[in-house]
């Protein structure tokens, strides 16, 4: 009942966003809808976990953890939206606002779906709801990114469906005839083992595509690069995690069946491979949002790695959902401000960020240190836990490779970030000169410069959401709240 209300509330807000005629006031519906959703979530997650016969929708231990994070994260992003759209010019935001709210609704459905078939439908719905958001700028490049996103994710999700059906077939063998998560967990031992393995391969490739694991990640940098900053942050911090939940649920079923050790090498390999792809590509990026997008590939790889090493690594992977998500919020939201301040996403034309946009620039640099695992920030905690899990589980080689890749990503990303952060900013007054420069570099520049005219300096609305996320990341770096630890432990109970 409560989960139905949670799914419907953002949908109603989306309908409202479609109906409101004012382009100026419409963006405020998104934070309002997000706030309602957050309040309902707060109420829902403080309820005791349900017992008794499971329905198709249910807020179980896994949903409680993911739902509270996604709802909070969406609220932070939503408060940034009005300021972002004001700096972005006069394009109609009707579709964007409605689709953002619809994506919140479908993500809630993914998280609360207790029936794996229903969860699959909801994941497909998130793709369809976010595709128009990616196309917001209506440029040829945005069109190309949207096409890739739709095509690759739809194919990926189709394979995930095949995996889900294999899971159903595995349950047919013991006469269970069910795709309800709890039924599958309880009867995990009786499920047909070969079919479980086949199911996991398809689910990993399928939801892995949506999650951005290499080598199925090719849509991710394009979609993140071309979409508005809010949408990039939403994709990176929330949507990828929903796909991760899909993999996690099947992983838990296989763990409950006692076959976790068979699938763990696969997860470790795909995780390290994603990190390696990111390490190779991240240093070559010239577009600021593609840079952060490759960092997402890396961190999704880490989460797969965490599942792969098992034990404390699984807990770390879930903790990393929160840490990585918040860091991506900081990075993408501030990257959006830098884009507006410089009128380009090309980092070769960004100099002296710390002086031109001191607040956003500082938050971006802090976010960079946080995401690359500097001590004192949240990701450091979960990365150390993953390493601990790897070494204590006897996977020394994998642990060493993990550590080396972390270092390479730090160097690759740091090189670019520090170069744009320091030094004097380019002259602002000489408009013709910058225009000329733009033309001169346009053949190689990934982002064509458009509209600094709408940028009126940093305001509270531009920077506050990123700083809220940053403060949370710093707090989590020193202190993991007991309730968060308990929720994670309960969510991954079956993996031990």
């Amino acid at each position: 009942m409560l989960s139905t209300v949670l799914i419907l509330t953002p949908l109603i807000a989306a309908g409202l966003a479609l109906a409101v005629p004012s382009n100026r006031w419409r963006p405020w519906i998104v934070p309002a809808g997000a706030a309602c959703h957050a309040l309902l979530t707060l109420f829902a997650v403080t309820q005791p976990l349900p017992t008794g016969p499971p329905g198709w929708l249910r807020i179980d231990a896994q949903s409680r953890f993911f739902l509270s994070f996604i709802s909070l994260f969406f609220l932070i992003l939503a408060t940034y939206l009005p300021a972002y759209l004001r700096s972005n010019g006069g394009r109609s935001n009707r579709i964007l606002c409605a689709c953002l709210l619809a994506s919140l609704s479908s993500m809630t459905a993914v998280i609360t779906a207790h029936h794996l078939g229903l969860m699959w439908i909801a994941v497909e719905a998130t793709t369809l709801a976010t595709a128009p958001c990616v196309y917001f700028e209506h440029t040829q490049r945005a069109l190309e990114a949207t096409w890739k996103y739709l095509m690759l994710c739809s194919v990926g999700i189709a394979l995930a469906l095949l995996g889900t059906l294999c899971l159903a077939y595995a349950s047919l063998h013991c006469g269970l005839h069910s795709l309800l998560f709890e039924d599958l967990m309880v009867h995990a031992g009786e499920l047909s083992a070969p079919w479980l393995h086949v199911a996991f391969v398809f689910v990993l490739v399928g939801y892995g595509t949506k999650m951005g694991l290499a080598p199925m990640h090719t849509w991710l940098p394009d979609a993140h690069g071309e979409s508005p900053a809010v949408v990039s942050a939403l994709l990176s911090g929330a949507l990828l995690n929903c796909a991760f939940l899909g993999i996690l649920r099947v992983y838990l079923i296989i763990s409950a069946a006692g076959h976790a050790r068979d699938i763990q090498p696969m997860l470790i390999f795909i995780g390290l491979f994603s990190m390696a792809v990111s390490a190779v590509s991240i240093g070559r990026q010239t577009d600021i949002k593609r840079l952060v997008a490759y960092s997402s590939v890396e961190h999704m790889g880490m989460m797969a790695f965490g599942l792969g090493v098992g034990g404390v690594g699984v807990i770390a992977a879930l903790l990393h959902v929160v840490h990585n998500g918040l860091c991506k919020g900081v990075l993408f939201l501030t990257a959006g401000n830098l884009y507006h301040a410089y009128g380009t996403r090309d980092m070769r034309q960004m100099k002296g960020v710390l002086r031109r946009v001191p607040w956003s620039g500082a938050a971006f640099v802090a976010g960079f240190f946080a995401i690359t695992g500097a001590p004192g920030f949240g990701p450091f905690v979960s990365e150390v836990m993953m390493l601990g899990g790897a070494f204590s589980g006897g996977r020394t080689l994998a642990g060493c490779v993990f550590l080396a890749l972390l270092f390479f990503v730090f160097v690759g990303m740091g090189n670019t970030v520090l170069r744009i952060a320091l030094g004097p900013p380019p002259e602002l007054s000489d408009a013709s000169d910058t225009a000329e420069k733009r033309e001169w570099t346009s053949s190689s520049a990934p982002a064509t410069a458009t509209h600094p005219p709408y940028w009126a300096g940093e305001r509270l609305g531009d920077t506050l959401p990123a700083f809220i996320a940053l403060v949370l990341v710093v707090i989590l770096g020193f202190y993991t709240p007991p309730f968060l630890r308990d929720w994670i432990l309960m969510a991954v109970e079956a993996a031990h």
Partner: protein
């Protein structure tokens, strides 16, 4: 059992249609073949249902009506609505009527044939549930998925890729035929609807693609490189 006699030949026709779509180059014929395959699978749905329930099992009137309604819905969506949408897109976007492959015709056909053989070999290693008499659905499903994947990865045109995606979905649908009891009705409908909406959205984007580029070829969509 009569239904067992119908299911296997139906699946064989579906498999043959896979090879047909891999070789034919006229866009119109590919759309028609995919429509026929979709409609055929829709018709196999009640057949597979009867197979699972067994000959002696009596169906209630409500269950009968539901089955009938669902069959009509699947045949209509897979065999009529989606192909119509695609044909409309072809007409409006004024694309070339030929589909072209990046690697020619022979290679995909060979890989498709190899994939079918491998699918049969692979499926032999997987245990079948006792109530399933026919051994064909699983290899047929996997082979169709492989063919859809081949079309997706070798076709140059945006529309050719969408058709590949539909073939892939058809493969998954064949697998779904085995699971009529495990996957309840709402999920099945949701799956068909998702496919429908997915193709619809792709159609809209495709229209944008064809407006932005003279020919809606994926080769034009290659400015986003490293």
């Amino acid at each position: 059992m009569m239904s067992g006699l119908l299911l296997d030949p139906g699946l064989v026709i579906a498999l043959l249609l896979n090879f047909y779509v891999l070789t034919v180059s006229s866009l119109k014929e590919v759309i028609n073949a995919v429509a026929i395959q979709g409609a055929l699978l829709g018709l196999l749905y009640p057949v597979a249902h009867a197979d699972l329930l067994g000959g002696g099992h009596e169906m209630g009137a409500v269950a009968m009506l539901r089955l009938f309604g669902l069959t009509v819905a699947i045949v209509a969506i897979k065999g009529w609505v989606i192909p119509r949408l695609l044909s409309r897109a072809v007409r409006l976007a004024d694309v070339r009527s030929q589909v072209t492959s990046t690697v020619g015709i022979v290679l995909p056909l060979l890989i498709g044939a190899l994939g079918t053989v491998l699918a049969i070999a692979f499926a032999r290693n997987l245990p079948m549930a006792t109530e399933h008499g026919s051994h064909l659905p699983i290899p047929a499903a996997l082979a169709t998925v492989v063919c859809g994947f081949l079309m997706l990865s070798t076709r140059r045109e945006a529309l050719g890729q969408v058709l590949g995606y539909i073939v892939l979905e058809n493969g998954i649908f064949i697998f779904g035929l085995l699971l009529i009891e495990a996957v309840p009705i709402m999920v099945e409908l949701g799956i068909v609807l998702d496919l429908f909406v997915g193709v619809f959205v792709m159609g809209i984007i495709f229209n944008h693609v064809s407006r932005a580029f003279p020919e809606a070829s994926i080769e034009h969509l290659s400015s986003l490189k490293e």
